[in-house]
């Protein structure tokens, strides 16, 4: 099995905050072929009631995967990144993310299951503003395929 089962229940505290920038929203929206002008044009976003450009629905994966990277880099986890396959993903938005937000991600290791010779690890990132407002909860399961 490729993952240390003792990690269940472990919490990785939030690292440095993530500043959501207009250009990053534009870049991510372009990269995911998003069509809404509210990702590109501040006036279009304001017309929908947002203070600034609104992030696409999966934008927060940037922050969640930075949090996951702590786990993958942790020598205690035993995870070989080259054998990781993304199995499932969920985003729950407590409120939309807009340019100017400064966000933190706290990572919880919720579950580890053996899957044949490999293992499935489920993590949850709780995304908040630096002042503690809940913004999003992301859950992802990674399948670590057995090595040779």
């Amino acid at each position: 099995m490729g993952i240390n089962p003792d990690l269940v229940g472990h919490i990785y505290p939030a690292g440095a905050s993530y500043q959501v920038g207009r250009e990053k929203i534009r870049e991510f929206a372009t990269a995911t072929k998003a069509s809404s002008p509210a990702h590109f044009d501040v006036q279009a976003a304001q017309a929908l009631g947002y203070a600034d450009l609104v992030a696409p629905p999966t934008f927060v994966i940037i922050i969640a995967q930075r949090a996951d990277a702590q786990l993958i880099a942790d020598p205690a986890s035993g995870i070989d990144f080259s054998r990781v396959v993304h199995a499932d993903q969920r985003f729950t938005h407590h409120r939309p993310i807009v340019a100017g937000d400064e966000l933190l991600a706290e990572l919880y290791v919720d579950q580890i299951r053996e899957m044949g010779a490999g293992a499935m690890i489920t993590t949850r990132a709780e995304i908040t503003t630096v002042s503690g407002e809940k913004v999003a909860t992301t859950t992802s399961s990674l399948l670590v395929r057995a090595g040779d």
């Binding site: 991510f28 509210a38 629905p57 930075r66 990144f81």
Partner: protein, 146 residues
């Protein structure tokens, strides 16, 4: 703006095709920060027993939900979005083409109203996502606040 009362379970909200070529994967890697080489190096991908370079699951998940955001007219109205990644989307690098201009792999997406919650005024849109005739995402569901 879409009225909750006008919606019915099973109603098709629309469909579209998203294409993905190797250039798109490089762009997504840079934008997302996910630089796993299985998404750009064919040599590496095949050495770890994948058929070829595959798209980031998160590229596909991110691209297909545009159908829902465009339908509701507000991408920030998507309050919950989930999927399972069941099959990889293989992205080839055809000889004689510029990888950024290649036609790429076609990802087909269709959205249907899967559930309505009158109390919460939310609609769940279930997305059927296929590439090369195979379902690549399962339980792909976006909940929209109306």
């Amino acid at each position: 703006m879409i009225k909750f009362s006008s919606l019915e379970k099973g109603q098709v909200i629309g469909s579209k095709t998203v294409t993905v070529n190797r250039g798109d994967l490089v762009r997504y890697a840079g934008a997302s920060g996910d630089f796993n080489p299985i998404h750009y190096s064919e040599r590496f991908a095949t050495e770890v027993e994948l058929p070829s370079v595959i798209a980031h699951g998160m590229f596909t998940m991110g691209a297909v939900v545009d159908l829902v955001g465009a339908w509701v007219g507000n991408p920030g109205a998507i309050v919950d979005y989930q999927t399972r990644f069941t099959k990889p989307v293989v992205v080839e690098d055809p000889a004689g083409s510029n990888p950024s201009d290649a036609e790429g792999t076609a990802i087909e997406v269709e959205g249907k109203i899967g559930a309505l919650d009158e109390e919460a005024q939310t609609a769940r849109v279930d997305l059927t996502v296929t590439a090369n005739g195979t379902k690549v995402l399962m339980k792909c569901q976006a909940v929209v606040q109306l």
